[in-house]
């Protein structure tokens, strides 16, 4: 259990260097006599509706009707878990390429090719075609992002001030959740409001969300590259979202994803009961008093066979809340509208809601997390982030939590 505890000089040096660099940037910024303070811009994230997010990205280069763009993110990690550390390391999380083509006035194509950790995992995360009949009715088909929760639709790293993705968006909703599917979306406008809807049928999640190497109900393990090729059980999953945005304030959304997740039929013969999976999500964001608040809550209900035992949760839920406050706006080097944000995130997820049959005690298997930090945006498209985060993880029995904490520095930018 015990591993060698490494000295923390590396992390201290890193914090110190970051502080010095920020001081230097600030100093040079004050040299620029034409620096113009503008209103704080905490991020690019909340402009437009969540539904827009897939298209509301910077595309930098165009050839005829086709544009390309993308984003990259990298970060450092220094974590300590109950006094034990693996030391300091760095990771190139993602390098994603976007391709957008306005094929005609009503037909658009968008694709996103993702490289995780170099070439450790390469996936075509999005490849969809939209045919707009009316703003209130657009047909969509291809590899699309399931509209469940807001984060799954708007997950580009440069949009956030915290390096890690919210736990609820990766553990309760298996973001990034994309699948081959077809459906419709649209929007309508009234007064200061924009109402949006999405509705699709998709190849659903598969066996693996239980009886997996995570040892718990884990929706991420139900994802498979095969879902881009065929349904595992011949029953499409349904997913949809409705959202309401008030201009100048924020947006709320409720969403659903559900279907049959197990391969209950082989060679036409029914070999198991059909087992369902439902995910319900609520998301909201608003800017109040200059502070951006955004969060999401989600719950899933999984039909777990009794034979699998209580290790696998029948219900899971989680939530997160981000608060982002611009604390300084000004000029740095050539950037006339640079922003320094302070941010905090509170998170909770419960992998297994319920009580043990044998004892009546509450089942553990939950995580409380808090993250705080500062981010610096020389432009809205680029963010430098310094985060501290800590997790308290209870095992299924609810024993004393394992504490894990550390500091991350990262950069993420659109290009």
């Amino acid at each position: 259990m015990k591993k060698q505890v490494m000295k923390k000089y590396t992390m201290k040096h890193f914090v110190f260097l970051f502080a010095l660099s920020m001081v230097a940037l600030q100093s040079f910024a004050q040299d620029k006599k034409d620096s113009t303070k503008q209103g704080g811009q905490s991020s690019t994230a909340q402009s437009g509706t969540t539904q827009d997010a897939v298209y509301r990205r910077p595309f930098i280069t165009s050839f005829a009707n086709t544009s390309i763009g993308g984003y990259a993110e990298a970060n450092t990690n220094y974590f300590v878990e109950n006094g034990v550390t693996e030391g300091f390391s760095m990771e190139m999380r993602r390098f994603n390429l976007f391709v957008f083509s306005s094929i005609s006035s009503r037909i658009k194509l968008l694709a996103e090719l993702e490289f995780e950790h170099g070439v450790e995992e390469i996936s075509l995360e999005t490849a969809l075609v939209d045919f707009e009949i009316d703003p209130a009715l657009t047909l969509r088909g291809g590899i699309l992002l399931a509209p469940v929760g807001a984060y799954n639709l708007r997950h580009d790293s440069p949009l956030y001030e915290i390096v890690e993705r919210p736990l609820v968006a990766t553990q309760i909703i298996p973001s990034t959740l994309s699948s081959i599917g077809f459906g419709v979306y649209g929007r309508t406008f009234f007064s200061d409001f924009i109402a949006t809807y999405d509705a699709y049928i998709v190849n659903g999640l598969q066996d693996g969300i239980i009886l997996n190497s995570a040892g718990r109900t884990f929706l991420q393990a139900g994802k498979s590259k095969e879902i881009f090729g065929e349904s595992a059980n011949g029953v499409p999953a349904l997913t949809g979202k409705v959202g309401l945005r008030k201009r100048g304030l924020g947006e709320i959304g409720v969403s659903y994803y559900g279907g049959i997740y197990n391969r209950f039929r082989r060679d036409g013969v029914v070999v198991d009961a059909q087992r369902s999976l439902h995910i319900f999500a609520f998301d909201a964001n608003a800017t109040l008093g200059g502070i951006l608040l955004q969060g999401e809550a989600a719950m899933n209900i999984v039909d777990v066979p009794d034979n699998a035992g209580e290790f696998y949760g029948r219900r899971q839920w989680g939530a997160y809340l981000d608060a982002v406050a611009p604390v300084w706006t000004g000029a740095v080097l050539d950037y006339t509208n640079a922003v320094l944000n302070a941010t905090v995130r509170l998170e909770y997820i419960d992998y297994n809601v319920g009580r043990f049959a044998a004892t009546g005690e509450t089942i553990g298997d939950d995580v409380i997390a808090v993250a705080a930090g500062v981010s610096f945006r020389p432009t809205p498209q680029t963010v430098f982030r310094l985060n501290y985060r800590q997790h308290w993880t209870h095992d299924i029995l609810g024993n004393d939590p394992v504490r894990r904490a550390g500091i991350q520095f990262g950069i993420a930018t659109y290009f």
């Binding site: 259990m1 015990k2 591993k3 923390k8 992390m11 914090v15 110190f16 970051f18 502080a19 920020m22 001081v23 230097a24 600030q26 100093s27 040079f28 004050q30 300590v80 878990e81 109950n82 006094g83 034990v84 550390t85 066996d207 693996g208 239980i210 009886l211 997996n212 190497s213 995570a214 040892g215 393990a221 197990n262 070999v271 198991d272 066979p305 034979n307 699998a308 035992g309 290790f311 604390v327 300084w328 320094l340 043990f356 044998a358 004892t359 005690e361 553990g364 500062v374 501290y388 800590q390 095992d395 299924i396 029995l397 609810g398 024993n399 004393d400 504490r403 904490a405 550390g406 500091i407």
Partner: protein
């Protein structure tokens, strides 16, 4: 360079106040690292630490084994088709005692004067969980002996494994020659097919002494671990390569993962990990009431079975080589009377006989059991006094003496137990 430095310091003198805030935050983070980064829990509060004095190679093997001990098996890795748990650690959280969630059920029946483990009906262990599309076992209606077994703590097992058989035989008193009412006997077992006798082992008419498991039904850790892989998790290994099938339903199909599902190296690494776990730490061992409680423990005869000190023999691990340690067990079987007779047994043990449970670590039980301790082989006792009350047979005399103690004396004894 000098001018740049001077310029920076000059600028620092005129910093914007926000920058001062930023600097403060960063400096706070810098100076507060030791507070913000979680320290290791107090050594006396945790199990699962490696023994001191391991070589670098031994530490590497220990860590490798630790990883395998924590490894969770899914269907794709060979879990099942029937199982009780998906990892070693799910039964032995933090290397400590288990919980009702992972209690094992074993069964059998008496066939005349011999015990039938009902192998043809899926015995002796009930695999009560299964992968999708496969049925778990059901308890046969005519099983007359059914016991429920809490997973034990796994710390300090290397010390217990290294005690020479001769030392255990010296503690045995099958005919109660000393007249103390206690007559420990070893569980004599036929060796498993991959058993390799060591100098510490003593052959007894082709049999060897069992020392692991509630009934001392395993001779060595290799047997214990490889059996747990197969019977608890449905994971085949080079040692036991036959898949676990449900003979009750005639489902002789496996989990579609080629056997063996783990190699001999994996099993051996886990064995090494368990051999090299520290003994459970004591707390407040020098407190006067703890010492008084230990004297009471000895005076009323508990130490007749829960022998305080054993000594290892020669070992290939220096830290385990001929050292005294304090497990509070004699590793022998004792008749515990009708109170704890579940009608189930293993090896040469009678159904009422149980191996003396090592008491070390008993004070930390709750920390691995979700905060609520449970005692005895099946967790039926929720307090230590309750556990003592359920001692019968050879331990009845000590139990009765405990009942005659004053409340203060009882509390001293309990305090001593909680210090273990």
């Amino acid at each position: 360079m000098k001018s740049i430095t001077k310029k920076i310091f000059h600028k620092i003198a005129f910093l914007h106040y926000q920058t001062l805030v930023l600097m403060s935050v960063c400096l706070l983070a810098l100076t507060a690292c030791d507070i913000l980064l979680p320290p290791a829990p107090a050594a006396e509060e945790v199990l699962g630490e490696p023994i001191d004095g391991l070589t670098a190679e031994q530490q590497a093997t220990h860590i490798q084994g630790d990883g395998e001990f924590a490894r969770i098996f899914g269907v794709a890795e060979g879990l099942g088709p029937m199982f009780n748990a998906a990892s070693c650690e799910s039964c032995h959280a933090g290397d400590g005692k288990g919980h009702a969630l992972t209690t094992l059920t074993r069964f059998g029946r008496m066939n005349g004067s011999t015990f039938d483990p009902m192998i043809t009906e899926g015995g002796p262990q009930l695999q009560n969980r299964s992968i999708a599309g496969y049925m778990p076992e059901a308890l046969p209606a005519h099983a007359s002996g059914v016991t429920h077994l809490l997973p034990p703590a796994v710390t300090g097992l290397g010390y217990l494994a290294a005690v020479p058989d001769e030392a255990l035989l010296a503690l045995a008193d099958p005919n109660d020659r000393n007249g103390d009412g206690i007559s420990g006997v070893p569980n004599e077992l036929s060796p498993h097919e991959f058993f390799r006798p060591l100098p510490m082992h003593k052959q007894l008419n082709g049999r060897y002494i069992g020392r692991f498991g509630r009934k001392a039904g395993a001779i060595d850790l290799l047997q214990q671990v490889s059996a747990a892989y197969r019977n608890d998790m449905g994971i085949t290994s080079d040692f036991i390569s036959e898949e676990l099938f449900n003979v009750q339903t005639g489902a002789f199909t496996g989990d579609n993962v080629p056997d063996p599902e783990v190699s001999a190296s994996v099993v051996n690494n886990v064995v090494f990990y368990m051999r090299t776990l520290k003994v459970p730490p004591r707390r407040n061992a020098d407190a006067s009431n703890v010492k008084a409680g230990e004297q009471m423990f000895t005076r009323i005869g508990c130490a007749g079975c829960h022998v305080a000190t054993l000594k290892t023999g020669a070992s290939d691990i220096a830290a385990l080589n001929e050292v005294e340690f304090h497990p509070y067990t004699d590793l022998l079987l004792h008749d515990m009377g009708a109170e704890l007779d579940d009608g189930y047994t293993e090896g040469s043990a009678k159904t009422s006989e149980w191996r003396t449970t090592p008491l070390w670590g008993i004070g930390l039980s709750a920390k691995a059991q979700g905060g609520t301790a449970s005692y005895l082989h099946d967790g039926r006792a929720k307090t230590l006094p309750d556990a003592i009350k359920l001692h019968g047979g050879e331990s009845a005399r000590s139990r009765d003496r405990f009942q005659t103690l004053s409340e203060a004396e009882k509390q001293q004894l309990i305090t001593f137990l909680q210090s273990l």
